[in-house]
Symmetry: C2
Subunit: 215 residues, 2 copies
């Protein structure tokens, strides 16, 4: 299968269940690994074209397991996360489409939160398509004024996460549809909806991410 | 030990490791369980004074395990999360201090995110002290203009999660101190700092939460 030079997958250090859907999403992408995220490479049967990391002592076992992965080292005392560094590298290469694998869940709630906020920012500021996945869960940033139509199966539980007040939220083809509703920050109105067929989500303003239990 | 009638613990359905610190934090509190959160009660050796839930079919096994817990049912098709309903109940009882147990981590990233945003909103709008814990992790909302001094051990890894741009962030007594720095939304500048003794965090504006790997 040919590789689209501008479509990237980035392996991050969060949770991952290897599913057929993840394998299909990975096809035809260039793959980068962000530090400990390389631990997912073997299970996915892929070799990253680049492994970005600080390669401090904690990576010893992984380094033994992936001796052939070309490395791009950076200092451990860096002001950016591993994931952000890998995403920046992909953007420098002209990335237009990012699949963030291992971006959700895991033991570190702070990493999971930062991945969400970085993905939302990248999608908005860089006009890049972003999908985050753990195999079990999948998330897509919502851009104001741009309808999002995730291909989630009918019956899939999904939520809209709001970083701010969200204005004019419209959800069509779901168990609880919304029509241009303003959702205050901290409201749980948008928690645990159920997708119908051809789910569509649109917000007028604010910063939101749709997330689903895809498996 | 006497119970402070305005200090509550709320058991939520996220991850929980029962630690000495959690047990100490629980002492002297009234305890409510939010739906599936009651599963933590036995491990903690406590009996909630009230179990709020929709008590649909999925709670069958838990209902057998906790037959004596007084129940406050509500409809399954509700516009609020279980956790928010329990928090509202505590506030109606005059709560001034909330310990949210099982509020972080778990299998549902959307629940974890909503717990963070609800906690931030409650702390700000209701002037209530809020601490969230999973035993392994602990989080405290940051209020603009009000210094936060978490009692986290020297060497503890912590991050400041920013829902918005945060203005004038000051971090004292940490490996990477900050002095009135504006942090854009989506920046990873505030990820993985290390607490010194007497950590102090202050922000001038915006919405942030400090979270630590306490165990």
């Amino acid at each position: 299968m040919s590789v689209d030079q501008k479509h990237f997958a980035i392996l991050l250090d969060g949770a991952l269940r290897v599913t057929e859907r993840v394998m299909a999403q990975l096809r035809g992408r260039r793959v980068l690994a962000a530090d400990g995220g390389i631990r997912h490479a073997a299970a996915l049967g892929i070799s990253p074209e680049l492994w970005l990391g600080d390669f401090d002592s904690t990576d010893g076992l992984l380094a033994q397991k992936y001796p052939d992965a070309p490395r791009a080292p950076y200092p451990a005392d860096k002001p950016r996360s591993d994931g952000e560094i890998a995403i920046r590298h992909a953007l420098d290469q002209g990335a237009t489409d990012l699949l963030l694998v291992g971006a959700l869940g895991g033991d570190r709630s702070d990493h999971a939160f930062f991945n969400l906020s970085v993905a939302a920012t990248i999608a908005r500021n860089e006009a890049v398509r972003v999908v985050m996945t753990s195999g079990a869960e999948e998330a897509v940033p919502l851009l104001p004024g741009k309808k999002t139509s995730p291909d989630w199966q009918e019956g899939t539980i999904f939520s809209v996460l709001c970083f701010t007040q969200v204005g004019g939220l419209t959800i069509e083809n779901a168990k609880w549809p919304l029509d241009r509703v303003d959702v205050p920050f901290g409201s749980t109105l948008t928690l645990s909806n159920i997708a119908g067929s051809d789910l569509e989500i649109l917000l007028a303003s604010g910063c939101g991410i749709a997330i689903a239990q895809v498996e």
